[in-house]
C-alpha cells in the first residue's frame, strides 16, 4: 500500500528484486488483517454454530420438510401433498378460528386492562412501588403454578370463582368445562399471569409524556376522558402500536396455557389452537411433514405482523 505513494523508487527496486520491502509490508499488513479476522471470527464461532444449528438450518428445514414425507425411514418429495392435507383437515378452520378468537380476547382484555391499570397507577402518588411489585408478581410464577392454580379456581363445583359469583348473586359458569366459556377462561388466566410486563412498559411510556401538554389541555377546559383521548393516547401511540403487534404475534402462537388448562383441545375442540394442531401432527401422529406444512401457514400469517413490527420499531428509533 505504501508502495503506490512512491512509485519511482519501488518500480526500480521491483526491477532489481522480485519481492521488495513494499511488497513485504503489504504482506505483513495482509497477514495481520487475516490474523485479526481469524481472531474476530474465533470470538464469533460459538454463537455462529448455535445459530446455524438451531435457528438458520431449522428455518430452511421448515420449508423443505413441508414438501417431504417420511415413511418407514425413507424420505421422499411429495410436492404440495402436506399443505393440501392440513388445509383439508376438518379442524383446520376450527383451529384458526380458535386462534383468532384467543387473539381477539387477548387484545380486548390483555391489551386494554394493562393500559388502564398503567394509567391509574400513574395517577397515584402513594404506595406505587408496592402496586408495581404486585402487578408483576404473577409474571414470576412458573407457568405450571399459575395455570394449575387457575384450574382449581375454575372448578365448577368447588372453585373459588363460582363461589364469589354466587355470593354476589351472579350466575355461575362452567368455565373451562363448557365450549362457550373455555377460551375466555384461558385468556383471563393468561392475562393475570402476564399483564405485569405490559403494564410496566406502559407506565414507563406514560412517564415520558411532557406535563405541559396536560396543563395546556387543562387550560382548554378538557375533561378527564378528553385528556386521555387527546394527550395520553397520541403521546403513547408508538408504544401502544408496537405492543399491539407484539401481542398479536405472541398470542397467535398460544400453546402452553391451552395445553395445561384444557389439555389442548378443550370441550368440543373449542380451545384447539394452530400451534396445538402443529404439536398434534408432529408428536401425536408422527407426521412431521404435515406439521411443518401447517407451521408454514402460520409463518405466512405472522410474517405480516412481524414485518409491521420491525418497520415500526425501526421508525421509532
Amino acid at each position: 500500500m505504501a508502495a503506490t505513494t512512491v512509485p519511482e523508487n519501488t518500480t526500480k527496486r521491483h526491477a532489481g528484486r522480485t519481492s521488495g520491502p513494499g511488497g513485504g509490508a503489504a504482506r505483513t499488513g495482509l497477514s495481520r488483517k487475516v490474523r485479526q479476522n481469524l481472531q474476530a471470527h474465533g470470538f464469533l464461532i460459538g454463537a455462529l454454530l448455535c445459530f446455524l444449528m438451531f435457528s438458520w438450518y431449522p428455518m430452511i428445514r421448515e420449508f423443505i420438510m413441508s414438501f417431504q414425507e417420511t415413511k418407514r425411514g425413507t424420505t421422499s418429495w411429495v410436492g404440495f401433498k402436506n399443505l393440501n392435507r392440513v388445509y383439508h383437515d376438518p379442524y383446520f378452520w376450527t383451529a384458526w378460528k380458535n386462534t383468532a378468537e384467543f387473539t381477539l380476547y387477548a387484545l380486548v382484555i390483555g391489551f386494554l386492562v394493562p393500559f388502564v391499570v398503567a394509567i391509574v397507577l400513574n395517577e397515584l402518588r402513594h404506595a406505587r412501588a408496592y402496586l408495581r411489585v404486585l402487578v408483576y408478581l404473577p409474571v414470576m410464577l412458573p407457568p405450571v403454578a399459575g395455570v394449575l392454580l387457575f384450574k382449581y379456581f375454575y372448578n365448577p363445583d368447588y372453585g373459588l370463582f363460582n363461589h364469589i359469583l354466587k355470593t354476589l348473586h351472579l350466575p355461575t359458569s362452567q368455565w373451562l368445562d363448557s365450549s362457550h366459556t373455555a377460551m375466555i377462561s384461558v385468556v383471563i388466566a393468561a392475562t393475570w399471569m402476564s399483564m405485569g410486563g405490559a403494564t410496566l412498559i406502559y407506565l414507563a411510556a406514560l412517564q415520558n409524556i411532557p406535563g405541559e401538554l396536560y396543563e395546556a389541555a387543562d387550560l382548554d377546559g378538557a375533561g378527564l376522558l378528553s385528556k386521555i383521548w387527546h394527550v395520553t393516547i397520541p403521546q403513547t401511540r408508538m408504544v401502544l402500536s408496537l405492543m399491539l403487534l407484539l401481542q398479536i404475534v405472541a398470542t397467535m402462537q398460544e400453546f402452553t396455557n391451552v395445553f395445561l388448562l384444557t389439555g389442548g383441545n378443550g370441550p368440543e375442540n373449542s380451545t384447539m389452537t394452530v400451534v396445538y394442531m402443529v404439536y398434534q401432527y408432529a408428536f401425536r401422529y408422527n407426521n412431521f411433514g404435515s406439521a411443518a406444512a401447517l407451521g408454514l401457514f402460520l409463518l405466512l400469517v405472522l410474517a405480516v405482523f412481524s414485518g409491521l413490527y420491525t418497520r415500526l420499531s425501526r421508525n421509532s428509533d
Partner: protein, 296 residues
C-alpha cells in the same frame, strides 16, 4: 426510575388534588385500588399457600374456607417427597444456569466481536442473527426438534441431555442485539489505548469491556434464567425422562395421580424460588424489563 421520585405532571393536576373534593376522590380511588389489586394479585397466592395446608376434604369443600381449619403442614412434606420436588427444582436450576453460562460466554463474545473487532461479513452475520427475531418461535419447534434428534454433520442425539436446552438458547438474536448496542457505546479510545498497551482482544474484553457492561449483563442474565424457568413446550419435548424434567413439566405430568391439596402444596413450593428471586432483585428486574423491551 428517577421519574418516580420527582413526580411529573400527570392527568390530574396537584391543584385539583389539593382541593377538599379532590382529596376525598383521590383517597377513595387509592384505597379501592390497593384493596382490589391486593385481592386480585396477592389473593390467589394466599389461596395457594393456605390451600396447601388444607385437608383433602376441606380443599374441595363447598363453600370454600378462608383459613385452613386444621392446618396440615405434612401436605408440604408429602408434596416435597412424593413429587420429588427437590429433584425437579435442581433440574430447573441446572438448566437455567447452564443456559445462562452458555449465553454469557457465546453471546457476549459474538457481540464483542461484531461491535469492536469488526470481522469481515460481521454486518451480514449480525443481520442474519437479527432476522431470526422475525420468525415466530412456534413455527420452528418441529424442525428444531428434528435437529436436536440428529444433529447435522455430527449426528449426535441430544434428546434427554441438558445440551438440548442449553445450546438453542445461545441462538438468541435479542441478546446479541442488546449486548452489541451496549458495546457500541463504549468509547473506541479505550480500545485503542488497550491495544497500544499490547492487550489482546480477550484481555480487552475481560478487563475493560466486561467491567463496564455490568448493567446489560444483569439484564441478559435475568432474561436468560427467567426464560428457561418459564419455558414449557420445548423442555417437554426434549426431556422425556421424568427424572430430568424441569419443574413446569414434572409437576404437570405428576399432577394426575396426586390429591388436590398435595398438588397445591407442590405449586406453592414451586412458586417460592422465583418469587424470592423477584422480591430480592425486583428493582433490577423491572428496570431491565422496561429498558430492554421496546427500544432495545
Amino acid at each position: 426510575m428517577s421519574a418516580f421520585t420527582s413526580q411529573n405532571r400527570t392527568l390530574i393536576s396537584s391543584a385539583t388534588l389539593s382541593r377538599r373534593k379532590g382529596k376525598i376522590a383521590y383517597w377513595t380511588v387509592w384505597t379501592l385500588v390497593i384493596v382490589v389489586f391486593t385481592l386480585v394479585f396477592l389473593g390467589p397466592l394466599y389461596w395457594m399457600v393456605t390451600g396447601g395446608f388444607k385437608s383433602a376434604q376441606e380443599v374441595v369443600a363447598n363453600p370454600p374456607t378462608l383459613f385452613p381449619k386444621h392446618p396440615k403442614p405434612e401436605n408440604y412434606h408429602t408434596a416435597w417427597s412424593e413429587l420429588k420436588i427437590a429433584r425437579l427444582l435442581f433440574n430447573t436450576l441446572y438448566y437455567a444456569f447452564g443456559a445462562l453460562a452458555f449465553q454469557l460466554v457465546f453471546d457476549v463474545a459474538a457481540a464483542y466481536s461484531i461491535s469492536k473487532l469488526r470481522p469481515v461479513l460481521g454486518k451480514i452475520i449480525l443481520g442474519a442473527m437479527l432476522a431470526t427475531l422475525m420468525i415466530p418461535s412456534a413455527v420452528l419447534i418441529v424442525p428444531q426438534y428434528m435437529t436436536v434428534l440428529d444433529l447435522p454433520v455430527l449426528h449426535f442425539n441430544l434428546i434427554g441431555t441438558p445440551w438440548a436446552i442449553w445450546l438453542p438458547t445461545v441462538a438468541n438474536g435479542f441478546n446479541i442485539f442488546l449486548l452489541k448496542r451496549f458495546f457500541d457505546s463504549i468509547p473506541e479510545d479505550l480500545m485503542h489505548a488497550a491495544s497500544i498497551d499490547g492487550a489482546s482482544p480477550l484481555r480487552t474484553l475481560w478487563s475493560i469491556v466486561l467491567p463496564m457492561s455490568r448493567p446489560i449483563l444483569g439484564v441478559v442474565s435475568i432474561f436468560a434464567v427467567v426464560n428457561v424457568w418459564k419455558d414449557f413446550l420445548w423442555p417437554m419435548l426434549v426431556e422425556p425422562d421424568p427424572k430430568n424434567q424441569p419443574i413446569n413439566i414434572g409437576i404437570n405430568s405428576l399432577s394426575q395421580g396426586v390429591p388436590e391439596n398435595v398438588l397445591i402444596a407442590a405449586l406453592a413450593i414451586s412458586a417460592l424460588p422465583t418469587l424470592l428471586i423477584f422480591l430480592l432483585f425486583q428493582r433490577n428486574i423491572m428496570s431491565g424489563l422496561t429498558a430492554g423491551s421496546l427500544k432495545g
